[in-house]
Structures are given as structure tokens and as C-alpha cells.
Amino acid sequence: MEDNPDDEALTLRALKKNNIANEVIVARDGVEALDYLFAEGTHEGRDLSNQPQVILLDLKLPRVDGLEVLKRIREDDRTERLPVVILTTSNEESDIISSYDLGANSYIRKPVDFDQFMEAVRQLGLYWLVLNIKSPNGQ
């Protein structure tokens, strides 16, 4: 989930450069993200069995913020086991603590240096999409 189109383009670029060919769904705000995950609103009727392998979640999102999204994901038994990686600009201690408290699987601060960002995305893709084994009932 990413509201900033620049960041969205850069993240997609980083994924592409790192040869990660998985399907990427972008939600521009918290409400859209939740709609997608729970097949509501604009995404009504979506096949819920096809849930993402990993969710990259920005904290600052319009309408419903990232922490709230995370909380809802964890509250719902359909999504509670989905891996959620916080990918945000903030390195505030309080944000980090809140994220982990709410059950984030990982917290990565977006570096300004795009080389570092590429590296971070590369490792992220490698780990979550290749190495990590999904929960069997994570749908």
C-alpha cells in the first residue's frame, strides 16, 4: 500500500530491477487496501482465496492510516497470518514499537539513497517471496 505515486513507481522499479516478477497490487490508501483484502467496496466479488504473498505497508496513508490497516488485518481471521512488512519513511521509535505491537512481521525504513533502497527491496523480495514459507491457512 503506497499513497505517493513517486514511491510507488520507485518501488515497482526496484522490484522489476531485481527481477521479481510476481504480481503487484497497489492500493493508494487504507480504505482501498482493506477493500481489496476483504473483497469489499470497489473490490467486491474478488476471489478471496487469492491473497497476496506479502503486504508492503506504508504507515502514512490517506483516510485509514497504516497502523489501522495493520490492526484490521490482524483482527480478521481471514488475513491474520498474512505477512506484513512495514515499508515507511519514518524511523520514529514510537512507530516501530506500535508496528511490532500490532503484529508487523518486519519494519524497513525506506532509505533516501536509491541504491540502498534497491538493495533493501532486493533482499525483501528474496526473503519474503522466495525464502519465506507461507502459513498454510494464510489463504
Binding site: 513517486d6 519514518s90 532509505p111 533516501v112 536509491f114
Partner: protein, 1121 residues
């Protein structure tokens, strides 16, 4: 202009009844006698009948009888027409007029009826008589000829007679309103015009017929034709006359009064004198109308005199009359405004009156009005275009083409202008128009003047009314009683004071009464006081004033009171008409005088009894008179004093002379009271004290002429006072308060100056009070209980603390030391020494309060700080998010460019993009550093024991790991353990060691040292290197945020690091400073104060092999701050 000259007209005298009857009879007689005689003669003359035939006719009865019958009948018949007129002439009463007028109306018909009947019958009677008595045989031609004769006779005689009778009627009824004319001029003209040619024609025919005997049908036709021509001609005459008369006939048509006539109907239609007369008549009427209207206006104004009337109504009336009278399109009334010296157009046709004026024309503007006003004459301007003096503005505004203007004159001076204007060019302004507008202007001026005079009169009335009211008010408000009497002694007016003083209820009880009998009837001793002896009455008779103050007036209730009165005669046109009397009740004055006498007697007694000397000084002679007592006081022998002022001055103690002289001159000039205490030198050289009091004597103009005074010897008193004064002043000098009070009454009998100042009461007030009054904690019982042991001798002195209440209510804490003293030959008393302990109490109170407030203040400050911290956190949070995000875009897309478009970019392009990325990354670094700096301030300190030495090693190892190629000589003091926030101190060491590492980067043998030392009792830690160093003159900038002493090219960095360090150290209560030398290295020192000190035993123990640490160094740190 045509005028009717009355002297030239044929004035007829009035006629009386007798003459009228006589003349009327005569005319009727002539009318029925002359035609007969004339006709018969004519018959003879034209030889219709011969003389013998005629003689036969006349001698026989038929013809004479016929004639006599007509005489008598006509006289009888027509006298009925004369009778009503005679009645009118005899009685001249209005009732007879209608009958008379009716006669005149009916008369012509009856006259001509009978006359024609007579004319028809007369030839018949003649021919019949001739045939009967003279054997005359008549031919048809004879009938014709005789009838012709009758016609001629009737015209020759009947017509003039008829006119004569009408004239007679006219004369008889002259002055009677005839209504419509009965025999019009047109009728008369027709009669004359048609009948006279007929007469001549017929006479000619007769004549030639009788001479020639020639009469044919042709003659008849010619005769008839001529007759018709005559009638036609006279009809044309009549028509012409009709046209001339037509305008005048309009006068007869209406039943309205002459002045109400529509004057346009009177416009002349002919050029003859009747036409001219009609025009003149019409002008006359118009002028009359105007004058009557103006007269009406002026009458109205006069009737309204005394009431308010507005200039508005006058001006509007004038304008409307002028508009009706003048044949123009607009009229203007302008009045002169004397203040502005302008003409103001106040009224005009078609606009309401406006006192301020519809327009204003200055005296120097080109204007017809101004010209009229200035030259004071009438102007008739046929075409204003050709007249440069006319105001072009008004011409434009009102489309005036021609104008007629006249000045409004009052007493020969112009006060305004009346103007009639026309929108056509009029060349027909006549002298009459000028005269009319002049008349109008004159009347208008009169009307305006009347209005103004009335206004002034009203104003004056109002003023007079106000004056009367003022006088009444004055009369009633004065305290003097005033009344007036007429010559007979009856009261004409009284004022309020008079009524009240005399004890009456209202003035009506006095008005009109004989005042002497009411109030002045008896002498003070009660004996009768007749009016004849009354001084007021006598003075009135003598036309003089009177004044007295030894009489009494009597009140309504019979009591009397002494008065002083003044009477003045009232004159009216030189005659005495009464007297006005003013009087005052002088009871009080008399009493005062009595008291004065009494008190002066008492004074004399007092002076004699007391040792008081009396003196009097006369300035003019410089004499000084002394009483005997004076000499005694001065220690002189009787009569030793010479009576001169100098003799006195010689005895005044020299040092007091100046004061005495000053007080004397002050008393004389400034009128200050004279009361002096001074010393005198007695003949035995002893000094005496005297008290001298005096009054200044002044003459009528207020100039001082002398002094009179008394003198008291106060030597003994003065000496006693001196002793007491010394004691008192000593006591007054002590700061403590001394109170003494009586043991019985508890009243104070002495208080010193300190005591007075303390409680705020005056000495006088204090002497009436007791200690209980100023001690709110005691009532009298409690106080007496407290002093009882001292009275009993059980206690000598009592010390206690209580409160005193000042006069203004303030409370003072005091400490009292009370003693009871019993001097040998004086009454016993309590002496209280009182000490004000306010300052002490206040200090105690403040200390207590301060203690109580301290915690509150700390709490408040903490709260404030928390709020500020919260705001700061919110700011930092958004900085960390929002500022970094765009930087990432810059960097990311720059890299994307570099990667995707590398082949399209040249070396410079790639370099620029790299610089962009560098800048963005630098910015991100800056933001992170700033966040770090702010975090330092806002995060809460978590203090614990930290091994700085270990931390230093750790940091240096990290640095070394980053640049494994560099060989740096490091020295770390062992076992430095401090108390502080681990995370923050890590930031400090990161920065300091990072700097050292960075700045030694260009040295061949880099050295970094971390150590600790003691300086002025303070534990100081330092990081020293031998790197680039810096110039000490910039040392003060070193710890400021964003302050750098090296360029980025030399050494990278943000300039925030040392600022962060300083802030962290400050948070720990320590301080930082630096020492350096350019190119030789730098040392950064820091101490850790109150929060960073190892002030517990454990830490002290763990310092182990490090530098010794002093107990309580943290306090030194605080002092350092």
C-alpha cells in the same frame, strides 16, 4: 398710450325728478305736435293740398280732434314710463331701480309702435278731412305722397326726439347699473344709417315730383334701390361697430364681478378709438386686478400683523400675482442677501418658495437682476441674446428670450428684483408693461416689508416677554421685599419676599389695597401712624426718595418687625404715578448690634482681669498707644513709654525683630492674621516672652491705617514649656513607640511621636482613647485582667505580642513591654514600649509561602514543558516523514535516469545527475541529524551507569571496521564509568570520535585519545586528536547547529554533530568546550553534571583505575553553570 380725458367728455349734470318730468312731457309733446305741424306744412309746400283746402281741414273738427286726441293720449300713455323714473329720482332708493330699468327697456317698443300707428293714421285723417270738408278727391298717388310726407316727418322729428328721450333716461338713470343695453349703439347706427338716406331720398323725390310732376316707375325703382343700398351700407357700419364693441360686450356677458373677468376676452379687434379704448380698458382692468390682488395681499398681511407670517406665503403670492398680470412665461422674485451681498432667487413661477434661494447671483456676475438692482431702474429687454449683461447661465437654464425687470424699492433703496421673462422674443414691451411691473414691484416690496416688520415686531415681542419674565424672576428671587403703590397709596405690585415677610398667603391679599393701612398703620410704640405723616407718602408727594431704618411694618397676624426701607417715586412721562418701596427685616441686625455692645463690655472686663495689655498703632503718625498693663509687662515704670513706635521696637529682642517686622508687613499687606510670639528685653536686661495678637484697621478703600492688638506675658509658661519640650523631643526621637496611660480610666495621657506615627491617630485623638481601642485582641475586661498583677505589685514588667489596629484599619503585629511606674509626687501610670514586628512577621510568612508554592511552580513548569515537547515531537515526526519522501523521489528518479538513459547522457549530464543524488542524500543526512538533535531534547533521560571507556572502544572499532586501511593510534583511559543515558552518550561518543576520525584522515600518524581529568574540582572528559584542528577565534561557533569550520570538500559533514553533543551534555547538566590549533589537532572537553556524575558509592568504587573522582563534583558543576 391712450388715456380718457375726463375733462373733455360731455359731462351731463345730474337731473332732478321735476326737471325730468317736465322735459319728458315736453319731448312727448313735441313728438306728437311737431310732426303734425311739420307734415301739414310740408303737404302745403308740395301742394298736395291747397291753402283753402288745408284751412277747411283745419277748421273742421276731425283733424284738430285727431291731433288733440294723440296729444292727450300719448301724454297719458307715456307718463307711465316716466313715473317709475321719477319715483327713483325722488327717493333714490334701490327698490325703484328695477321698475325704472324696466321702463327704459320697454319704452322704445311702445314709442315706435304708437309713433308708427300715428304715422299711418295721420295721412288717413288728413285725406279724410280734406275729402269731407274741402271736397278734395284723393288719388292713389296722393295717398302715396302723403304717406311719404309722414315718413319724412317721422324720420326728421321722431328719430331725434327718440334719441333725446333716451338721453333723458340716461341722464336720469346715470349711475344705475343697466345690465344689458336696450338700445345698442349698433341699433342707433343702423337707424341713422338706414333712415337718413331714406329721408333725403324721399325728400328729393317729393321735391322733384312737386316741381316737375314727374314720377315714374323708374323713379320708384331708383328710390327703392337707393333705400336698399342705404340699409346695406348701414348694416356694414353696424358690423364694423360690432367688431369694435365686441371686446367690451364681453363685459356685459358674464355675471361675474368686473375684476374677475377673463382679460383675454377683452382683446381688442379693431383699430378705431373704441378698439384703443377697449385695450386701455383692458389694461386698466388688468392693473386694477393686480392692484386689488396686491392690496388684498397687503391687507391680509396687515390683518395678520402680530401673528407669525412666513416670507414664503408672501413671496409665493407675489409670484402668482405677477405671473397672472405679466404676460410672460415665468416670473422671478429675487431678494438681496445683505450678509453675502448677493441676490437670492427665492420664488419663481412653477417652483416652491425656497428661503435659501433656488439660485444665487453675486454682485459682480453678469445678470439682468444685478443690473436692475444696482442701477435701480426698470429694464425691458426684448432679446436677451443681444444684451451681454444678462446672465448666460439663467438664460440657458430657463430658456429666457426676453425679460422685464424692476427693482423692489423700500424707502428709496432697492431690496430685491422682480422679473418677468418670456421664452419668445418680445418687442412689444410697452411703457405700460414697465409701469405695471413697477407697480407690482412696489406693492411686493411693501408686502415684504410688512412681513419683515411684523417679524421684527414679533421678535421684539418675544424679547419683551422674556424681559418681563426676567424682571418677574428677579423680583421674586431677591431677598429684599419690594412693593409698589400708586398715587392713591394702593398696592400695584408686590414680590414674593414682601408677601412672605409680611406674613400674607398670596399677593392678591395686598394688590389693590391701601398698603399703608395694612402694614404701616402704627409707630413702633403702637400709637397710630396716619398716612399723611408717612415719610414714603410725603416723599411721593414731593417727588423725592425716602429712606429710614427706625420704623416697623406690621404683619398680617398683628406682629411687627423693624425695617429699613427705601422709597423711590415712579415717573411716567414726567408725572409721578406711584412709588416703589424696598424694605428689609432688620431684626437680626439690631440683635447683632446689641450683642456687639454686650460682648465689647465683656471684653473690657476680660482685658482688665487677665494680664493682657492693649495697644493701638496709627501708621500715619507712627503713634503707639499703650494701656498701663503694657508697661507693666515690659517692666517699665508707669508713663515711662513715650508713645512712639520706635520706643517699642527698642525693647524687642533683636533676634526676633526681623520676624516681627515680616509678620507685621504680611498682616498689613496680605491680610494674614497677626499672632506672634516674641521676646522682649526688659530694663533689667532680663528676657521676657510675649504673645501679641492684633487686627489691622482699614479705611473705606481697604487701605490699612493702623493696628490694634493685645499682648500677653507668657514668660512663665514659656519656661515651663521648654523643659517639657526637651523631654518630649527626646522621647519623640526614639523609633520605638511609647504609650502612657492612666491605670484607672486606661486613657492615654502621653504618646510619643513614634506611637502617633504607628497608629495613625493624631495626638488629640489618642488622648481620648485607651489601649483597648487599638488592640483588637483585647476587650476592656481582658486588658484589666492582664494588668491586674502589675497593679497588685506581683509583676513589675509584662512582655507580650499582640496586634495594633491603625486608624485606617491596617493591623500591625507588635511586641509590647509594659511597666507600671509610681513616681513620688505624680500619679501612677503604665508605660508601654511598643515595637513594630511587621517586618519580622512578614519575612516568616514569606518563607512559609515560598515553601508552599515551590512545588506548584515546578508542576506548572513541567506541564508547560510537556506541552512544548509534544508539539516538538509532532513536528519532528512530520519532518522525518514528509521531508524525506520527496528526497527519495529525487534520488530514485535520478538513478533511474542514469540507468535507463545512460547512453543518451554525456559525461556532464551524468555528473549533474550524480550531483543531484549527492545533494538529495546530503539533505537526507541533514534531516536525520536534525531529528537526532531534536530527539536529544525531547526524549526522556534514562540514567544508568555506563562504561564510557568500553563505549569508546566499541565506537572506534566500528570506525576502524569501516575504513580497515587506516592506521590510527588510539589511547583510551580505562574504567571511566559515568551515570547517564546510554543512547545519548553513544551519540556523543559517535560524534566526537567520528569527528576525530574524520579530521585525522589526512594525517600521516593519526592519534585519537579519550581521557578524563580534573579541572577546578570538576571531572572533565575529553577526546583529543592531532588532526586538522581549527583556529581558536572560531571556537565560539563550534557548537552551533550548522556551523562548520571546514568546507565539505575538505571534510564532509552537516555541522549538526557538535551541536547535538553540546545539547546532550547540557541535558546531563554538564558543559562542553574545545581547544585547538590550526593543523595541529583539537581537543573537545565535556563534563557531565548533576545527572551524569558518579555520585553514588558504587560508581565511585567502579571508577577503579581511572582518575580519582571527587565526591560532590556535581555540585561544582551546578555552580559552574
Amino acid at each position: 398710450m391712450t388715456q380718457v380725458d375726463i375733462t373733455n367728455s360731455h359731462a351731463m349734470e345730474a337731473i332732478d325728478a321735476q326737471t325730468f318730468r317736465k322735459k319728458f312731457r315736453l319731448l312727448i309733446f313735441i313728438a306728437w305736435s311737431v310732426p303734425a305741424i311739420f307734415g301739414l306744412s310740408f303737404i302745403l309746400y308740395v301742394q298736395i293740398l291747397s291753402v283753402p283746402e288745408m284751412a277747411a281741414v283745419m277748421t273742421h273738427p276731425l283733424e284738430p280732434l285727431f291731433m288733440a286726441f294723440w296729444f292727450i293720449f300719448s301724454l297719458w300713455y307715456f307718463m307711465r314710463f316716466a313715473r317709475p323714473i321719477v319715483t327713483y329720482l325722488e327717493n333714490s332708493c334701490d327698490e325703484s331701480i328695477p321698475a325704472a330699468r324696466d321702463c327704459v327697456r320697454r319704452f322704445p317698443f311702445h314709442f315706435w309702435l304708437l309713433f308708427l300707428l300715428y304715422l299711418v293714421m295721420a295721412p288717413v285723417s288728413v285725406i279724410w278731412a280734406a275729402e269731407l270738408y274741402a271736397g278734395f278727391v284723393s288719388q292713389p298717388v296722393d295717398w302715396f305722397r302723403i304717406n311719404m310726407v309722414a315718413l319724412i316727418v317721422s324720420i326728421i322729428v321722431g328719430l331725434p326726439i327718440f334719441f333725446l328721450i333716451l338721453d333723458l333716461f340716461g341722464r336720469a338713470l346715470s349711475g344705475v347699473q343697466m345690465g344689458k343695453p336696450h338700445i345698442t349703439v349698433k341699433t342707433k347706427v343702423f337707424l341713422i344709417g338706414a333712415l337718413v338716406p331714406l329721408l333725403i331720398d324721399t325728400m328729393l323725390v317729393q321735391y322733384y315730383w312737386s316741381r316737375t310732376g314727374f314720377f315714374t316707375t323708374e323713379t320708384f325703382i331708383v328710390w327703392l334701390f337707393l333705400e336698399l343700398l342705404a340699409i346695406g351700407g348701414s348694416l356694414i357700419f353696424v358690423r364694423s361697430f360690432g367688431q369694435s364693441l365686441a371686446p367690451l360686450e364681453a363685459v356685459f356677458d358674464g355675471h361675474q364681478p368686473l375684476l374677475g373677468l377673463e382679460l383675454n376676452a377683452l382683446k381688442s379687434q379693431s383699430t378705431d378709438e373704441i378698439g384703443v379704448l377697449a385695450t386701455a380698458y383692458r389694461n386698466l382692468l388688468s392693473t386694477l386686478q393686480m392692484q386689488s390682488e396686491m392690496l388684498e395681499l397687503n391687507n391680509w398681511l396687515l390683518r395678520k400683523t402680530g401673528h407669525s407670517m412666513s416670507l414664503e406665503s408672501v413671496a409665493n403670492s407675489v409670484i402668482s400675482i405677477a405671473d397672472r398680470t405679466m404676460e410672460g412665461d415665468m416670473c422671478f422674485l429675487l431678494l438681496h442677501d445683505a450678509e453675502q451681498d448677493e441676490l437670492v432667487g427665492v420664488a419663481q413661477t412653477g417652483a416652491k418658495f425656497n428661503a435659501g434661494g433656488h439660485f444665487r447671483v453675486a454682485m459682480d456676475e453678469p445678470s439682468l437682476a444685478i443690473m436692475t438692482f444696482k442701477q435701480d431702474q426698470v429694464f425691458a429687454i426684448a432679446d436677451v441674446q443681444t444684451y451681454p449683461s444678462c446672465s448666460p447661465e439663467l438664460r440657458q437654464r430657463f430658456k429666457i428670450q426676453s425679460a422685464l425687470s424692476a427693482p423692489l424699492r423700500l424707502e428709496g433703496k432697492p431690496i430685491g428684483v422682480l422679473m418677468s421673462t418670456s421664452m419668445k422674443i418680445r418687442r412689444d414691451y410697452s411703457a405700460r408693461d414697465e409701469a405695471v411691473i413697477q407697480d407690482l414691484a412696489r406693492e411686493a416690496a411693501l408686502a415684504i416689508n410688512t412681513q419683515r416688520l411684523n417679524d421684527q415686531a414679533l421678535q421684539a415681542q418675544v424679547t419683551q416677554h422674556e424681559k418681563d419674565e426676567l424682571i418677574e424672576l428677579l423680583m421674586d428671587s431677591t431677598e429684599e421685599a419690594i412693593y409698589g403703590v400708586d398715587f392713591d397709596g394702593n398696592c400695584t405690585f408686590v414680590n414674593r419676599a414682601c408677601v412672605e415677610m409680611l406674613g400674607y398667603d398670596n399677593e392678591s391679599e395686598l394688590l389693590g389695597q391701601g398698603i399703608h393701612a395694612l402694614i404701616h398703620h402704627s409707630w413702633p410704640d403702637g400709637s397710630p401712624h396716619p398716612r399723611a405723616e408717612c415719610a414714603v407718602h410725603i416723599a411721593t408727594l414731593e417727588q423725592s426718595s425716602a429712606h429710614g431704618d427706625d420704623e416697623v411694618y406690621w404683619r398680617k397676624d398683628g406682629s411687627s418687625f423693624p425695617i429699613e426701607y427705601w422709597s423711590h417715586p415712579i415717573r411716567k412721562e414726567g408725572e409721578i404715578v406711584g412709588t416703589v418701596v424696598t424694605f428689609l427685616d432688620i431684626t437680626e441686625r439690631i440683635n447683632t448690634r446689641k450683642e456687639l455692645v454686650q460682648s465689647s463690655e465683656r471684653l473690657g472686663l476680660a482685658i482688665d482681669a487677665g494680664d493682657i495689655g492693649v495697644w493701638e498703632w496709627d501708621i500715619a503718625t507712627d503713634r503707639l498707644d499703650w494701656s498701663e498693663k503694657m508697661e507693666e509687662i515690659f517692666g517699665m515704670q508707669a508713663s515711662e513709654f513715650k508713645g512712639e513706635a520706635q520706643d517699642f521696637y527698642d525693647r524687642v529682642y533683636p533676634a526676633d525683630m526681623e520676624m516681627l517686622a515680616k509678620d507685621t508687613s504680611d498682616a498689613l499687606e496680605k491680610n494674614t492674621p497677626f499672632s506672634v510670639v516674641y521676646r522682649i528685653v526688659k530694663p533689667d536686661k532680663s528676657i521676657g516672652w510675649v504673645h501679641c495678637q492684633a487686627n489691622v484697621k482699614r479705611d473705606a478703600s481697604g487701605k490699612s491705617v493702623g493696628m490694634i492688638g493685645v499682648l500677653t506675658d507668657i514668660t512663665a509658661q514659656k519656661e515651663a514649656d521648654q523643659v517639657v519640650y526637651r523631654l518630649k523631643s527626646t522621647l519623640d526621637m526614639t523609633t520605638d513607640c511609647v504609650f502612657m496611660f492612666d491605670p484607672e480610666t486606661l486613657k492615654f495621657n502621653y504618646v510619643n511621636l513614634g506611637a502617633i506615627n504607628q497608629v495613625g491617630y493624631s495626638e488629640q485623638e489618642m488622648l481620648d482613647m485607651s489601649p483597648v481601642d487599638i488592640k483588637p485582641e483585647f476587650d476592656e475586661q481582658a486588658f484589666r485582667q492582664m494588668i491586674q498583677p502589675m497593679l497588685d505589685g506581683e509583676l513589675k514588667q509584662h512582655q507580650f505580642e499582640t496586634i495594633h489596629r491603625r486608624k485606617n484599619g491596617d493591623l500591625i503585629p507588635v511586641e509590647i513591654s509594659l511597666s507600671y511606674v509610681q513616681p513620688a509626687n505624680e500619679p501612677a501610670r503604665f508605660v508601654a514600649i511598643v515595637h513594630d514586628i511587621t517586618a519580622r512577621k512578614r519575612a516568616e510568612g514569606e518563607l512559609r509561602e515560598h515553601r508552599d508554592h515551590l512545588e506548584e511552580m515546578v508542576d506548572a513548569r513541567t506541564n508547560e514543558l510537556q506541552v512544548v515537547n509534544k508539539e516538538l515531537e509532532a513536528f519532528a515526526y512530520s519532518v522525518s516523514h514528509d521531508l524525506r519522501t520527496p528526497l527519495r523521489s529525487i534520488d530514485g528518479f535520478s538513478l533511474a535516469l542514469l540507468e535507463d538513459y545512460r547512453d543518451k547522457l554525456d559525461k556532464d549530464g551524468r555528473d549533474y545527475l550524480s550531483r543531484i543524488r549527492g545533494g538529495a542524500q546530503k539533505m537526507a543526512e541533514l534531516i536525520d541529524d536534525l531529528l537526532e538533535l531534536s530527539r536529544v531534547t525531547r526524549s526522556r533521560l534514562k540514567c544508568e551507569a555506563i562504561d564510557l571507556s568500553a563505549m569508546t572502544s566499541e565506537v572506534l572499532n566500528e570506525l576502524a571496521a569501516r575504513e580497515p586501511k587506516r592506521q590510527v593510534d588510539t589511547r583510551i583511559a580505562e574504567g571511566i564509568i559515568v551515570r547517564g543515558d546510554r543512547r545519548l552518550l553513544k551519540v556523543v561518543m559517535d560524534n566526537l570520535l567520528g569527528n576525530a576520525w574524520k579530521y585525522t584522515g589526512k594525517k600521516e600518524k593519526p592519534e585519537i585519545e579519550f581521557g578524563v581529568m580534573e579541572k577546578n574540582g570538576e571531572i572533565v572528559y575529553y577526546v583529543r586528536d592531532n588532526g586538522a584542528g581549527f583556529d581558536m577565534k572560531y571556537a565560539d561557533k563550534l557548537f552551533g547547529a550548522f556551523q562548520r569550520l571546514h568546507t565539505s570538500k575538505e571534510f564532509s559533514g552537516t555541522g549538526v554533530g557538535l551541536a547535538t553533543v553540546q545539547r546532550i551534555v547540557h541535558r546531563h547538566g554538564g558543559r562542553t568546550w574545545a581547544e585547538a590549533e590550526q593543523d595541529s589537532g583539537a581537543t573537545i572537553y565535556f563534563s557531565l553534571g548533576v545527572n551524569g556524575g558518579g555520585d553514588n558509592g558504587q560508581q565511585e568504587n567502579t571508577t577503579g583505575g581511572g582518575q580519582p573522582r571527587r565526591r560532590g563534583f556535581n555540585i561544582a558543576g551546578v555552580e559552574e553553570k
